[in-house]
């Protein structure tokens, strides 16, 4: 009975939702200092290619590949962030957009390493590796009533779910701290933040690098779940797609990108007929949201209203003195 419910297709959609949530959070982190990064698709690509190449050519364990992939992406974030973050916000947006394009051009042209626009296939698959490892200990999925295939997707899904929860937990805690207050202060008024003793360049680069790290991490996971990547996966469309999770869901609280990624990943799967017009609808959503509700669907007042309702029902909700930004 359980076995029938575990449908690889549903699980795969679930995995994409989780990866998109992580990507949405990566943009949200950078935005929480008031900086818009359009390079996160590029960072995702760096994470994906780094991990894929390391695991294929040097036979490193996937986990090592993913960690290195994320770190390389973060390093690129620091390198690109330091010169641009001292300047006006629009420069960052343009430079990050251009950076994403440069990354794509490199993926396409550095054929000896990246295999050009064809992409890389045969990337070690996390689910299969988990299964292989467990089989080494004498475990068989059939013993818990699952097909191998089901087990593979289930294991990835659970792994991703745990990681996503960890990421949310991490950034929620960071938000409710000295670091989070510094981020929020910079977003609200850079000059005032600086005169309160906040090193704004440091925190902006930190937020930008954290965004790059998380995006690189999501990219590396993506590579080891699809087992195939190509430059087109990390182009402008991806950058806009990640952006829209935040624009639609909300950029002021972490639940915004989570909801945005969840809803917008699920919608085309449920409503098949619109999937062809997906990007046109995205474009319209962005224009309408900016005009009508620029902070996104989920914002602080909405959360407050919801948590009041929740408390009436007798639920105890986290009541930190920091309102989310």
């Amino acid at each position: 009975m359980l076995a029938e419910l575990i449908n690889p297709y549903y699980l795969q959609v679930g995995c994409f939702i989780l990866i998109n949530i992580i990507l949405g959070i990566s943009v949200y982190i950078t935005l929480s200092t008031g900086q818009l990064s359009l390079a996160n698709a590029g960072f995702m690509g760096i994470g994906a290619y780094t991990s894929a190449l390391l695991t294929i050519h040097f036979e490193l364990p996937i986990i090592i590949g993913i960690i290195i992939g994320a770190l390389v992406a973060a390093l690129c974030g620091v390198l690109i962030g330091i010169p641009t973050l001292r300047l006006q916000g629009v420069y960052l947006a343009i430079v990050t957009l251009g950076f994403g394009e440069v990354i794509r051009v490199i993926f396409v042209n550095w054929e000896s390493v990246t295999n050009g626009s064809v992409g890389i296939s045969g990337i070690p698959h996390i689910g299969r590796e988990i299964l292989k490892t467990l089989q080494g200990f004498g475990f068989q999925p059939i013993s818990i009533g699952l097909q191998n295939n089901q087990f593979i997707f289930l294991s990835i899904f659970i792994l991703l779910l745990l990681i996503t929860i960890f990421v949310i937990w991490f950034f929620r805690r960071q938000h409710q701290s000295r670091v989070g207050r510094a981020f929020a202060a910079i977003k609200l008024d850079e000059k005032a933040a600086e005169s309160m003793g906040i090193n704004i360049t440091y925190y902006k680069v930190l937020a930008f690098a954290q965004g790059a790290l998380v995006a690189g991490f999501a990219g590396a996971m993506y590579a080891h779940i699809l087992a195939y990547i190509s430059p087109a996966d990390f182009a402008y469309h991806r950058a806009v797609e990640i952006l829209i999770f935040v624009v639609f869901g909300g950029s002021e609280v972490i639940w915004g990108p989570i909801f945005g990624a969840f809803f917008l990943t699920l919608m085309p799967e449920v409503l098949r007929f619109i999937s062809e017009y997906r990007y046109m609808i995205y474009g319209l959503i962005i224009i309408i949201m900016m005009a009508v509700r620029p902070q996104g669907l989920i914002d602080v007042p909405l959360l407050k209203a919801l948590s009041k309702k929740g408390r009436k029902r007798g639920q105890k909700h986290g009541t930190g003195n920091h309102k989310s930004m």
Binding site: R178, V179, L188, K323
Partner: protein, 257 residues
């Protein structure tokens, strides 16, 4: 001598906002910086806090040259300011605004914050305690949860002072703290600044409210068209012919403008 301004000039494009301004402030005093609008008073604040760098001249704080130091380092050294046009963090509560003020006196980084180590928890508790204390000090303890943009004007001014005090300054720069205040509020402000002085904090104040300045300040410097035209005790300033001509004669105009 806690703060020394030596021959400071500042040009914007071809226009000079400040020319050869020199004055120094003694520890523990309340020093007034006055002058007509556009005389360069706020520019002076911006130079002291390194929001701009002077074209020439030197600024020293406790015998240390801070002329080209970064803004946030200057706050860490012990100079903090308020703004003429109130720059609170609008969406944060009053308490949070003051908590941000303690940034340079606290240390917890990302990992300590996320894993909430014992030292981080202690620090957070301390930050909160100090912030509540300071809100109480400026008379805003009942508003600690109110979003700062929802506070009344006079309250916002006092909150800004509390936020600046949270950085534990040796020198506090106040940019027109009485602007827009009524008489009772101004008199409360007078008491507050005196209380700040009693804490051992040196105060440098820009203010247009002459009765307040004369009552409050130990010494005063007067700027006009970017030049210092007088310096001395309130009594000396009030009787200084050039000041009367440049500034006090204009006072009525200013007040009813």
């Amino acid at each position: 001598m806690v703060l020394e301004i030596t021959k400071v000039c500042k040009n914007f494009g071809g226009l000079s906002a400040l020319t050869d301004v020199t004055f120094s402030i003694n520890e523990g005093e309340i020093f007034g910086l006055i002058g007509p609008n556009g005389a360069g008073k706020t520019t002076m604040f911006n130079l002291i806090t390194s929001m701009f760098t002077p074209t020439s001249g030197q600024i020293t704080f406790k015998d240390e040259d801070i002329t080209t130091m970064k803004s946030h380092n200057i706050t860490e050294k012990g100079i903090c300011r308020t703004f003429q046009n109130i720059r609170l963090f609008p969406e944060m509560s009053a308490l949070e605004n003051v908590m941000v003020g303690q940034h340079s006196r606290t240390r917890s980084g990302v990992l300590k914050s996320v894993f909430r180590t014992a030292s981080q928890k202690k620090e957070e508790a301390k930050i909160k305690d100090i912030a509540e204390e300071l809100l109480d000090f400026v008379g805003l303890s009942t508003f600690s949860d109110v979003t700062s943009e929802n506070l009344a004007y006079g309250q916002q001014r006092r909150l800004e002072i509390a936020r600046a005090l949270a950085s534990e300054p040796k020198v506090l720069l106040l940019d027109e703290p009485a602007a827009g205040m009524n008489e009772t509020e101004t008199s409360d402000l007078f008491d507050l600044i005196k209380k700040i002085q009693q804490k051992g904090i040196t105060v440098l104040i820009i203010e247009h409210d002459m009765p307040l300045v004369m009552k409050l300040c130990d010494r005063i410097a007067v700027l006009n068209f970017g030049k210092k035209i007088a310096e001395g005790t309130p009594f000396e300033i009030q009787n200084h012919p050039e000041v009367i001509e440049a500034y006090l004669g204009k006072e009525e105009e200013d007040q009813y403008a």
